[in-house]
Symmetry: C2
Subunit: 199 residues, 2 copies
DNA sequence: ATATAAAAATACTGACTGGTATAAAAATGA
DNA sequence: TCATTTTTATACCAGTCAGTATTTTTATAT
């Protein structure tokens, strides 16, 4: 809820559009190397003054955290929906692969996975959110495998915990490959090969 | 051959130990995030003056390239040896997994894979070396699969090219997990699961 | 009108970056 | 002894960073 309408009765009215700053920030973090994105550059691109941005988000850590939060809300729940569709193992894996390879919003990779990969460079608040989102994703994966095992359409010998980690890492790999511009059919073959261990 | 003995007959004798600078640089790049390692800090840690380091290596790009080169010479050929041992698929995969999980030099991951992951932040010379080493590794993996296929102990449907890329990425993943301090048996389970598609 | 409150705009701080100019030091050759 | 050569050490450069102090603007309340 980082909006612009504080509705203070006195004082100069706020003109900064926090929404727009976040849009710009997401785009910048997403497209460029995280270390190359400065608060300065975001302020310039969003046409917002630096003190305004700092008043809105506290510090750089707050801005990156808000950007990731906004991004995750927009996108991250879609994977959960696929996993929780209640379909069988094969259909679910097919849908998952299709989503990860073809979804236009993942054309340049996934900001969450990108931040997860560069976790040690993040501020504490952003890092905490990354870990939170990661736990949530892992939990989703794990209940998926538990469901498939109890339904009887998965007889894998590995623990659901390891399976969940494996799935998460393979997804991360595919997204990193998309981000690096790798050939789409190659990515699909690799991801399909990796997930074939569950079929 | 970046040695210290230029054997110039005149002038103040060289005291900088290029070897030591490289040691320090490798350790620094290896332990810390690449973006956090500055030429300044390396000079300080190696007790070498900045102009001396710049005379020896040209610029930051030259230093990182030399560090990666030195590192690769020390370590990277071991993987090739395992792949070229001429053993069967299962034995080779077992040996490979064992090496990647247990080799002490890979306890904090692999500098090559780390630099490959952060490729876009590297200077042109270092980037070129990374791509060279990557091509070499891919080539090794691919001939390994070609051999196993011609020997008749691999009947996989994917191309040797995709198999090679897959193997390379799974190794990279395992090394990244080691670098991030993940539990060793978990890493082994995940890598074993990933490579089980070849058995 | 005028005091007050809040935000905006500008310009700044101190630290750190990669890279270098300059001068002192330490060797050899004549 | 003294000029020459090479490396070292110190100190600097311009640029960028995250973050902020200060002043100006724009509103409302009295």
């Amino acid at each position: 809820m980082t909006t612009t309408d504080h509705k203070s009765l006195r004082g100069r009215p706020k003109t900064i559009r926090a929404e727009k700053v976040l849009e710009v920030a997401i785009e910048a973090y997403w497209q460029n190397d995280l270390a190359d994105v400065s608060v300065n550059s975001i302020c310039r691109a969003a046409q917002a003054s630096k003190p305004s941005v700092y008043r809105e988000f506290g510090n750089e850590d707050g801005l990156t955290r808000a950007a990731l939060e906004s991004y995750a809300e927009q996108l991250l729940s879609d994977v959960s929906k696929i996993l929780q569709s209640g379909q069988g193992m094969n259909e679910t894996l097919d849908a998952l692969i299709d989503f990860i390879i073809t979804d236009a919003r993942l054309e340049i990779g996934c900001l969450f996975h990108k931040m997860r990969a560069g976790k040690n460079r993040l501020g504490p608040k952003t890092r905490q959110l990354v870990e939170e989102l990661n736990r949530a994703a892992q939990g989703n994966y794990q209940t998926f495998f538990q469901d498939r095992r109890s339904t009887g359409d998965w007889y894998g010998t590995v623990s659901t915990d390891v399976a969940a980690k494996y799935l998460g890492e393979q997804i991360a790999l595919a997204l990193a490959q998309r981000a690096s511009g790798e050939n789409a059919t190659t990515i699909r073959e690799i991801l399909s090969l990796a997930l074939s261990v569950f079929r």
